[in-house]
């Protein structure tokens, strides 16, 4: 029974990692941009939710609904004003810019909100749980996993069922030809980053409800997101979900053996997947 419990907790944890990774995966899939500031943008969104909740006196759920469109605009402007200027054949400038952005966001948050840890308080639901036979699972972790699946499903629908998604795929495959067909890649990129920021806001909501956050905590959470994206195969959204689950389950089983093995076993799973399938489970593009 302990195995079932471990598996279940690992899957739930994987949901959180997949949610962290979904925005990263989207941005990478569309424009091959590795956003090193993604973790810090999640923390920025968490502070935004916290700030909106405090200023307007609303619950974090309402604050999330207000913060999400704001973060969309932040993402849009960031792409239009900053990232678009450095995107090109060379992959180094965008990396450096996002790295710099990460430092800027951390220090701006530190200046504005101090180093104190904060948490989004959701009330009694935080500690509620469901009894499924012999195992108990928390309501919030369940919601996290459900949200991750829903986000991936919706993003996939967007990619393969809408004209915007067609534009995403076209730009991703061949920017020049897409331009010839009347697509403006800069706008498409801005749209993608905006949507990624909305997903990041959702991730921020669950992160803030699960644990404390402070300005410096972003990069630590980013590593698992990267691993999830790479295990799943670059550019594949369902792959990202699978990648998140693999890391979550590996960590849970590692911890069941000995907590010293928890983080390490996630990394070991990552290495094993890379050895067996160097391009991840479901690589979408060939580049």
């Amino acid at each position: 029974m302990i195995w079932l419990d471990t598996l279940l907790q690992g899957v739930l944890l994987g949901g959180l990692y997949a949610l962290f990774a979904a925005g990263l995966s989207l941005v990478f899939g569309v424009m091959r941009l590795v956003n090193l500031a993604h973790g810090d943008l999640i923390i920025l969104a968490a502070y935004l939710i916290l700030g909106v909740a405090a200023v307007l006196g609303v619950t974090p759920v309402v604050a999330l609904l207000i913060a999400a469109p704001v973060m969309f605009v932040v993402g849009w402007l960031l792409q239009m004003q900053v990232f678009n200027r450095v995107l090109g054949d060379d992959i180094l400038p965008p990396l450096l810019v996002t790295f710099g952005l990460s430092v800027v966001i951390q220090n701006a948050l530190l200046e504005g909100f101090t180093a104190n840890s904060q948490k989004l308080s959701l009330g009694p639901i935080e500690t509620q749980s469901l009894h499924l036979g012999s195992v108990t699972v928390g309501v919030i972790p369940m919601m996290t996993l459900a949200s991750a699946v829903a986000v991936i499903f919706l993003l996939n629908q967007l990619f393969y069922r809408t004209s915007l998604g067609r534009a995403f795929r076209a730009t991703s495959d061949d920017v020049v030809t897409a331009q010839l067909m009347g697509i403006r890649p800069r706008r498409i990129f801005a749209m993608a980053t905006g949507i990624a920021m909305v997903v990041a806001t959702l991730a921020a909501f669950y992160l803030g409800a699960r644990a404390n956050f402070d300005p410096s905590i972003g990069p630590a959470r980013l590593l698992y997101a990267f691993e999830a994206v790479i295990i799943g195969g670059l550019g594949s959204l369902w792959g990202t979900l699978a990648g998140g689950l693999v890391i979550g389950v590996a960590q849970a089983f590692g911890a069941a053996v000995n907590p010293e093995w928890q983080i390490l076993s996630g990394h070991i799973a990552f290495v094993i997947v890379l050895l067996l399938k160097p391009r991840g489970f479901f690589p979408r593009a060939t580049d």
Partner: protein, 424 residues
């Protein structure tokens, strides 16, 4: 008319002014005694340094009233050990300070003390348990026979053994099944708590059972394995020294998965009211160590203020609740002032060291005297211990938290302000 020439002129004047300003106090008070103060004012540890500005201003005012000609140069370690060593070197070689004060966490105190010891500049250090401070600076921390005392660096705080005994005293007061679950991370603090000088031998001697699932990494996202182990071991007492985000993750998950201990004694993570407030209702009746609170019966030797007055002054100036390091930031300056007044020549390192060694000062954190027999002989010269008691966070009707003193076995002069309550 605003001409280019004028602009250049005023620009130059502005630049000259900007450069001259920081240097001016040094020129004006050439004979002043210079004190360097290093603390983590920015970065993840900055919560420890909230009282810096207030205490420095208070010290300068009190020093002036006492007729002392002092200057304090404040440096920020940015919560980074490398930066701490760098600013210590700057203080010594560029600012030519006579005395250095350093506070908060081994990450700040140790690099500063190591630099100052080699440069032969006296240091008074605090707010780090003495073991990581003393042993952490040794060439070979693993070999007790090689440990050497220091000549120029002196530390006052409590040690691991005090924290262990405070927790044990609290647990002995409650009716439990004497089964303890331990949440110890794989860092300096976690490893020392789990070691032979930490909790396990004391627990065994007192007839307690320990469930220690093993060292985990900081910033872990899932504690199901530990919760499972604690449930299986029926641990009615929970202890540990996690960082605040990890404790929140753990404690929320523990509630979700139905682990409800009777007593929770957590070191480090529950130090600041903000961390406890972040837990909301879940923070009620958690216990922790207290090394300073407004209820301590001591007075400042510098200003004559009681602990309550000091805390109130700080709260008013900073617009926030008192925190435990507040008293120690003040005490550092108390000791500095006392030492400078007693030293035969406060600009001479050796005279200052002689004065530090002879210190016996009743400060706002209790009596500070080096060489007492409550410290093991190898560290006695450099370490002075201050009292430690046990506290319990009580949630008020308005959602804020009060830290109530519920255990004073090691320092009976500190009055209790409540009785220990169990969680269930």
């Amino acid at each position: 008319m605003f001409t280019r020439r004028k602009l250049l002129k005023s620009g130059a004047a502005l630049a000259a002014g900007a450069f001259a300003l920081p240097a001016m106090p040094a020129l004006a008070k050439g004979a002043a005694i210079k004190i360097g103060y290093v603390s983590p004012q920015s970065g993840p540890l900055s919560a420890f340094s909230q009282a810096d500005a207030y205490m420095v201003a208070g010290f300068l005012k009190a020093a002036k009233a006492n007729g002392l000609d002092v200057e304090v140069i404040v440096k920020d370690s940015q919560s980074n050990p490398n930066r701490a060593a760098e600013v210590a070197r700057e203080l010594i070689s560029r600012d030519r300070v006579n005395l250095i004060l350093v506070a908060s966490t081994p990450e700040t105190t140790n690099p500063v003390c190591t630099v100052a010891e080699s440069e032969e500049i006296p240091v008074i250090s605090s707010v780090a348990p003495w073991q990581p401070w003393f042993i952490g600076q040794q060439g070979n921390p693993a070999d007790p026979d090689s440990w050497q005392p220091f000549e120029y660096v002196y530390h006052f705080f409590w040690g691991l053994e005090d924290n262990v005994s405070v927790f044990m005293n609290m647990w002995n007061r409650a009716q439990t099944n004497k089964s303890v679950g331990a949440l110890w991370p794989n860092d300096g603090d976690g490893n020392s708590w789990a070691s032979e000088v930490g909790l396990p031998p004391v627990l065994a001697a007192a007839g307690y059972r320990l469930t220690d699932p093993g060292r985990y990494q900081n910033l872990t996202d899932d504690f199901s394995a530990q919760i499972g182990a604690f449930k299986k071991g029926e641990c009615e007492i929970l202890t540990g020294i996690p960082i605040p985000p990890d404790f929140t993750t753990f404690w929320t998950q523990a509630q979700q998965q139905g682990y409800r201990p009777k007593l929770v004694s957590i070191a480090k993570a529950l130090l600041f009211p903000e961390s406890v407030q972040a837990l909301g209702e879940l923070g009620h009746n958690l216990t922790c160590e207290i090394y300073w609170s407004p209820a301590f019966p001591y007075k400042s030797s510098l200003t004559g203020e009681s602990c309550a007055e000091l805390a109130a002054g700080f709260s008013k100036a900073a617009g926030r609740q008192w925190t435990q390091p507040v008293g120690f930031t003040h005490a550092l300056f108390e000791v500095a002032s006392d030492v400078i007044q007693r030293a035969s020549d406060p600009t001479d390192s050796d005279a200052l060291v002689t004065a530090i060694q002879a210190t016996s000062l009743d400060t706002v954190v209790g009596n500070i005297r080096w060489g007492k027999d409550n410290v093991p002989p190898f560290a006695r010269k450099n370490v002075a211990k201050t009292p430690l008691v046990g506290g319990q966070w009580r949630r008020q009707a308005d959602g804020s938290f009060d830290l109530v003193i519920v255990e004073n076995g090691n320092a009976p002069e500190i009055p209790l302000s409540g009785t220990l309550e169990t969680l269930s």
